[in-house]
């Protein structure tokens, strides 16, 4: 835009770099801390870097002494199931809201908005009652079910479906294509980027979800990674920071790798809708 004085530009770069360093500092802490022995962590003042990055004993302990293998499997199952149901159901709902006229259209969209705004804290106690009545306490199904179609996904799909030209769908209809064929053969291939966005947001939400799994998962066999890590950080040996930081890396890594390759979709998801 307008040209700034070179000194001001330099200052700006300096400030932004400092800010970025502060934003990234916790990642350095976790990366270096996870390779430290308990003795290194307890020594004060501690060294910045671990003695050796070859010390993977913390990671080994996660899987050998704790049940992080099980937690990880649970997290993967929950995330995979959530992504599949959300992509399918949100795409269907978004398509119907944007492209099919039907009575009750406004009511349904109102429900989408309401579901996005209700504070979760007002819902979890009765949700737990309902899950108990369904006999699903302490199952992975109970973890997945309430977030099987998140309103945010429906909202994104509806916004995106709006941009698909009506003429394409009308033309198919005139050619005698059925409503399901139009959805699967004409509409779905056109909304690839939106599906990617919904898939990523859903994965992020389900992978990071904490309060609900904490409530319904009642023993180690149904813990997801965040619940397992939180319980480990509050149980006995809660100051075994090396182990906990290694656990944090296991929780963070899949999301960081995805972010590295698919940054565009993460940011699109947020900027397009404004909701995490």
């Amino acid at each position: 835009m307008n040209k700034l004085h070179p000194a001001i530009t330099a200052l700006l770069y300096g400030l932004l770099t400092l800010g970025a360093a502060i934003a990234l500092l916790p990642f350095a802490w976790v990366l270096f801390g996870a390779f430290k022995t308990q003795a290194e962590i307890m020594s004060a003042p501690g060294a910045w870097l671990p003695h050796s990055f070859a010390n993977v004993s913390n990671f080994v302990a996660l899987f050998a002494e704790r049940m992080f293998g099980r937690y990880m499997l649970n997290s993967l199952i929950v995330s995979a199931a959530t992504v599949i149901t959300n992509v399918l159901f949100a795409t269907m709902a978004g398509y119907a809201l944007a492209k099919l006229e039907f009575p009750g259209h406004k009511l349904v969209f109102g429900c989408v908005l309401a579901a996005m705004m209700v504070p979760y804290i007002a819902l979890f106690v009765p949700q737990f009652f309902i899950i108990v009545q369904m006999g699903l306490v302490n199952t992975l199904t109970a973890v997945v079910l309430p977030m099987a179609v998140m309103p945010i996904g429906v909202f994104i799909m509806r916004q995106f479906a709006d941009s698909v030209p009506d003429e394409l769908l009308e033309a198919a209809r005139l050619d005698g294509a059925g409503e399901f064929a139009i959805f699967f053969r004409i509409f779905l291939p056109l909304v690839g980027p939106a599906i990617a966005t919904v898939a990523i947001i859903t994965f992020l939400n389900s992978w990071n979800y904490f309060l609900w799994p904490l409530i319904v998962a009642q023993d180690q066999d149904t813990y997801t990674l965040p619940v397992g890590l939180a319980v480990a950080s509050q149980g006995a040996k809660s100051t075994d920071y090396g182990l906990l930081l290694a656990g944090a890396i296991v929780v963070l890594l899949p999301v960081l790798i995805l972010f590295l390759f698919l940054q565009k979709y993460f940011v699109q998801g947020i900027a397009g809708t404004g909701i995490k």
Binding site: T9, A23, P26, P45, F124, P146, I249, Q263, I275
Partner: protein, 299 residues
């Protein structure tokens, strides 16, 4: 009915049926896990529901507004309302100001490395909160990296999470760190929507950079500001994960938010107070949300 009219109507009825089939999964989940719980929580707030009713949910007695009266006079609840207000009053402006500053810096200040900076500031947003809290606990222990650094420059660091005066700022720091990226991205989107020729015209008219910022950028950024304000307010009003994981609400309840108070009541089996408390919260969120929308629209 004329043949043409019936020909017109048949596909549209078919389409409506298809539409409802497509909507059905969302509506089913919405009804069972959002609408019904919201109504249940309200109804049960007026009953004496307890732990035993988890398995026998119909055997409750109505007690009128008694539970609400008890919650609203409970010192623990009132303190948690005040603590939540502090979270909102400090956390929201702080997060928004940093986010806005970063967005302006990235959009108007620099030309190179934009994507790299944006990624760095955005990374905390996608960070798992439990992992982040573990990192925070480690970093802010008495002999952790933060105090080691402070010692190296000659000051003794405080007992961040153990001191009732320092716990709140430490928890807020975590929440701000995780939310700044969201504000930045939304403000960036808002800034990019402002046409450049508006600025050019103002510059020709001799408006100073500060004047251009206050008289043009800020007003034109209003839709983004509105969105960010509402989002951040709701997010800080519902704050649970950060204090739960870092301090369990302590020390001396100094970080116990309303959400955490509700969770604790639920954990202790005080189901009716938990539901009533969460509804008081819901009411405040709705009232504040509507107020914010009105205020920011009017201005």
């Amino acid at each position: 009915m004329s043949p043409i009219a019936s020909w017109m109507q048949k596909p549209s009825r078919l389409r409506a049926t298809t539409a409802w089939l497509f909507i059905a999964p969302f509506m089913a989940i919405f009804l069972v896990f959002t609408a019904v719980p919201a109504i249940l929580a309200l109804i049960y707030s007026f009953t004496d529901i307890g732990v035993a009713n988890i398995r026998r949910p119909l055997e409750v007695d109505f007690v009128g507004v008694q539970t609400f009266a008890r919650v609203l006079t409970n010192p623990g609840f009132l303190k948690s309302v005040w603590t939540t207000a502090l979270f909102v009053l400090i956390g929201v402006p702080l997060t928004m100001l940093i986010g806005l500053a970063l967005a302006i810096g990235l959009n108007n200040g620099i030309t190179k490395l934009r994507a790299a900076y944006r990624a760095a500031f955005y990374l905390p947003v996608i960070t798992n909160i439990v992992a982040a809290a573990v990192i925070w606990q480690y970093a802010f222990t008495l002999s952790g990296p933060v105090n080691s650094f402070l010692a190296s420059i000659g000051t003794a660091g405080p007992n961040w999470l153990g001191d009732p005066k320092m716990a709140m700022p430490t928890v807020i720091m975590l929440a701000v760190w995780r939310n700044v990226g969201t504000c930045m991205v939304l403000f960036l989107a808002g800034l990019q929507a402002i046409p450049l020729d508006v600025y050019e015209a103002a510059k020709i008219d001799g408006a100073s950079a500060w004047r251009r910022f206050t008289a043009m950028t800020l007003p034109l950024l209003k839709p983004a500001t509105l969105l960010v304000t509402v989002l951040m307010t709701v997010s800080f009003m519902n704050i649970f994960d950060e204090p739960y994981l870092l301090t369990k609400g302590g020390p001396l309840s100094s970080t116990k938010s309303v959400a955490l108070w509700v969770y604790e009541q639920f954990g202790q089996g005080n189901i009716a107070p938990a539901m009533a408390g969460s509804y008081v919260m819901l009411a405040i969120v709705v009232v504040l949300g509507v107020l914010q929308l009105r205020l920011l629209r009017a201005r």
